[in-house]
Amino acid sequence: MIDFWKRFKQNHMAVIGFVIILIILLTAIFAKWLTPYDPYEMDPVNRLQSPNGEFWFGTDQFGRDIFSRIVYGARISLQVGIIAVGFSFIVGTIMGLIAGYSGGWVDNLISRITDVLFSFPDILLALVIMAILGSSLNNLMLAIGIVYVPIFARIARGTVLNIKDSLYIEAARSMGVRPITILWRHILPNAMAPLIVQITLSFAFAILAEAALSFLGLGVSPDTPSWGIMLSEAKDWMELSWWTAIFPGIAITLAVFSFNIMGDGLRDALDPRLRNEKS
């Protein structure tokens, strides 16, 4: 573990990503104390104010403070990220573990299901699911979660196939350890590295997908301070007032970028092939 941290630290970009994510996380948690205004409160007098000392990032067409909305937007983004990715990680990994370990027709069945899910473009599939389920925050998270299930399933299956014939698995089997215990105690911990990397990368995708779906009007309700919705609403006003679009855009970019570079750093730090070259 210390080893891993040392390797991770060498990658400065990844550390920057990690720090930004930490800042976003803290803003989301302490949003209440960081915001000068209520993100829902409309103020017709101060409509479309450009950034100034009073409204740091300006105000939108209803006079809501953009800075406050972005800070609260971090909550939505992280919530969507955590729950959607958590869902796809748990479901996908279980599917992949079972497929990889049991083989035969079970493997075939699960692999074909993931193939079908894979054959649709991500956003299109999420759109279809949202159209069926109707738009709400929970459905949004579920839809994004379902879209990323096959990625985790495939990664888990591949790693299990790699691990399940190793000698220590045979040793456990020869001692009569139950298959479920073998999966849980022996295979899963050894299969975690690529999955952790995928989690951070999927996080970025999930934030983007939430923004995209909200932008298309299929996400959360329009008054919610979500980065995607803010961007969507800003598109009618951005010729007059650039700040309504720029700041949510920067927030999305920053979050996605940070998760991506941190994911890259994690992958490099966890990849055993790179491990030997560096040490």
Partner: protein, 311 residues
């Protein structure tokens, strides 16, 4: 040594399908008995099926055909969990590659205690810890090693951990699948001696699989020689080394180098040519001398017999 049979292997077959019609007969009808308290050595060249035999006995593979009788009970085929548990406890395995046979993400404590957990042999965490520490010290490691991970150990130390894991559940029978071939020569003797000591202490029975003939002779009471999935010769180790009968055994023994220049100068490699056998008759396993079995045809049997009557 008592003459009580601990393990009987009867006509064991293990065939692997490698293609639509192709079948690899890794083990093709071998039979042997292992007596309580002895060490049975199994030798042969790479790929002759000795490891497969060991793995099939412990049920890592389902046997294609044949029986494995352990303590008078057939242990193959469908079994209830209880029956399997008993069998899994009494029979343990030590693996060839100590680098691959220990889970890199588990501490030594958890690795060794795995069998204890499966069989519920220790009631409290303290008891579990005490048992693991006792085992670690028994195999020549320190109890401080319990909380470390496998990669912090050398090959010889890892193999000791593997031995401690096998010992944890108080087994009667241990299959040692080339336990020393991945180790440094200087460490090999230590590990073999450890195995010998443990055998004396706990009255263990070993199936010792190896290709290093001198080491097998040192540890084994009886030796079986395998060639292409078949047992070609089986005898007490002294007898086998003094009077090898089957041409393949002769060839194997002629390949052992000795640290004796005079002997080495005159040592001639005997090359085994399988076509020297008369294939019109299926060879059978026959007792040429008391307790000395050879795979041979009737004609060869007669020749072998007369050969040894003159001695």
């Amino acid at each position: 040594m008592t003459e009580e049979k601990l393990l009987e292997v009867k006509n064991l077959k293990q065939h692997f399908k490698t293609g639509r019609r192709q079948v690899v007969k890794a083990v093709d009808g071998i039979s042997f008995d292992i007596y309580k308290g002895e060490t049975f050595g199994l030798v042969g060249e790479s790929g002759c099926g000795k490891s497969t035999t060991g793995r099939t006995i412990i049920r890592l593979y389902d046997a294609t055909d044949g029986q494995v009788i352990f303590n008078g009970k057939d242990v193959h085929g469908k079994k209830s969990r209880g029956q399997l548990k008993e069998f899994n406890q009494k029979m343990q395995m030590i693996f060839q590659d100590p680098y691959a046979s220990l889970n890199p993400r588990m501490t030594v404590m958890d690795i060794i205690a795995e069998g204890l957990d499966v069989h519920g042999l220790t009631k409290t965490p303290q008891e579990r810890k005490a048992r693991v520490e006792e085992l670690l010290e028994r195999v020549g490691l320190n109890k401080e090693h319990a909380n470390r991970y496998p990669h912090e150990f050398s090959g010889g130390q890892r193999q000791r951990i593997g031995i401690a894991r096998a010992l944890a559940v108080n087994p009667e029978f241990i299959i040692a699948d080339e336990p020393i071939s991945a180790l440094d020569v200087s460490i090999q003797a230590q590990v073999v001696n450890l195995l010998k000591d443990l055998q004396k202490e706990h009255g263990l029975t070993y199936l010792f699989i190896a290709h290093d003939l001198s080491m097998v002779k040192y540890i084994s009471d009886r030796i079986g020689v395998m060639y292409f999935g078949k047992m070609v010769e089986l005898a007490d180790s002294e007898e086998l080394y003094k009077n090898p009968i089957h041409p393949y055994t002769k060839s194997l023994l002629s390949a052992i180098p000795l640290p004796d220049p005079d002997y080495e100068r005159n040592r001639k490699r005997i090359v085994y040519d399988p076509s020297q056998h008369d294939i019109s008759e299926a060879p059978e396993f026959r007792e040429v001398r008391p307790n000395h079995w050879v795979l041979c045809t009737t004609k060869e049997f007669e020749t072998y017999k007369t050969e040894f009557q003159n001695k």
